[in-house]
Symmetry: C2
Subunit: 234 residues, 2 copies
């Protein structure tokens, strides 16, 4: 039989999954809307942010209630703490989807630049990082989480290449400045998707092992009264 | 006589104050280094980020330990929860100071553009928002926190003006593209200082009243077993 604590942890996990699913969908729609310069889809993304904001607040309250009434310890406590941190990244991922859509709208109507092959590649990579970081969270899969962190550097390199390419366009032809600027902003937003995926992945390692890989400081758990235990929602 | 809980909350509060002081100093140095194109100071800012990252991790562990051992409730619990959220913003404010310094270094050596009056003004405003959001946190001053949130719109407007001005430079003279691009990036970083200050200010309202003003949804506390109580560290 499940305890109240287990039930509430399961409820928290399922709320986080719903929020994550919504965020992933918003990102996918924002990227499609950008690739296809689909203004209607942009508007749908912009309108779709409200439920994500509301979910962050609900999940925070769920965590507060769980902490106040169930006093989780060890791994369960770390899971609740990580949940409160992960909602911040999920909410900001949602904001980035909105920002991509706003910039895409500003882009439509302007003449097209030469297609940038690196931008769709970076978008694919960032989206896969978001997807995998959320999967790693759901499954408590530390290996997948570490793998997400490793991929961030590739996105940063693509971002640098895209920036250099767009800078060259602007220097050659000042008429391309408005489009190139929007593309630079969009590429930075896409790069930030990967940054948040990395934050989430770091959180997964933190809650599953009490082990910190943030800021590239891989450390063993500090001896403390709070020892990792088996169990928990992952 | 102070209880263990009160002592530990005081310890948490003082750790947050130290982190906040360090972050404020990094931002002030990054802005000065940008205004004066001081490469040495940029390098100091870049080198100074490590202690901030370390403090985020320490404070998180302090929160986990406090939750596990002291079972804070009501206002104290909200303070601990808000602390775990605020460290994220503090750490990212530190990252932004580093990013401003990196961009400033890329800017030095390039010919100067016409001075932008709005950029120092926006920097002043953003810095004052960061300062006030942290003061609001220290004093639990909800009014000051609301005031910070109100100022965010002015920063956004300045950012739009700066962007339009720089875009005009680039269209007129493609030779100005590299400098103008760096200035656009720096102005966006400065604008993000204000965004994080706003997040912190929203957190202050949350922990002092259990009242949510995030996402512009001002709500009364939901009736729940966790009622606001007097006391706590603010």
């Amino acid at each position: 039989m499940e305890t109240h604590l287990q039930q509430q942890l399961e409820g928290l996990r399922s709320a986080l999954l719903s929020m994550a699913a919504l965020v992933e969908e918003q990102i996918a729609r924002a990227v499609t809307a950008f690739m296809e310069r689909d203004v209607d889809l942009c508007d749908q993304v912009i309108a779709g942010d409200g439920p994500i904001d509301a979910m962050e607040l609900e999940i925070d309250e769920q965590c507060i209630r769980l902490l106040a009434l169930q006093h989780p310890i060890a791994r369960d406590l770390r899971f609740v703490a990580a949940s409160m941190k992960i909602t911040i990244d999920l909410e900001r991922l949602g904001d980035i989807a909105v920002n991509i859509s706003k910039k895409t709208k500003q882009l439509t109507g302007l003449p097209n630049l030469k297609p940038l092959v690196d931008l769709p590649r970076m978008a694919d990579l960032s989206q896969s990082m978001v997807k995998d970081s959320l999967n790693a969270f759901v499954r408590g899969d530390e290996q997948l989480a570490m793998d997400v962190c490793d991929r961030d550097e590739e996105v940063n390199q693509l971002q640098d290449q895209i920036f250099e390419e767009l800078l060259a366009f602007m220097k050659e032809d000042s008429g391309s400045v408005p489009q190139a600027m929007q593309l630079i902003f969009i590429s930075r937003h896409i790069e930030r998707l990967a940054d948040h995926a990395t934050n989430i992945a770091e959180g997964v390692v933190y809650f599953s092992q009490g082990r910190v890989i943030k800021h590239h400081a891989v450390e063993d758990p500090t001896p403390s009264p709070i020892r990792p235990e088996s169990g928990g929602p992952a």
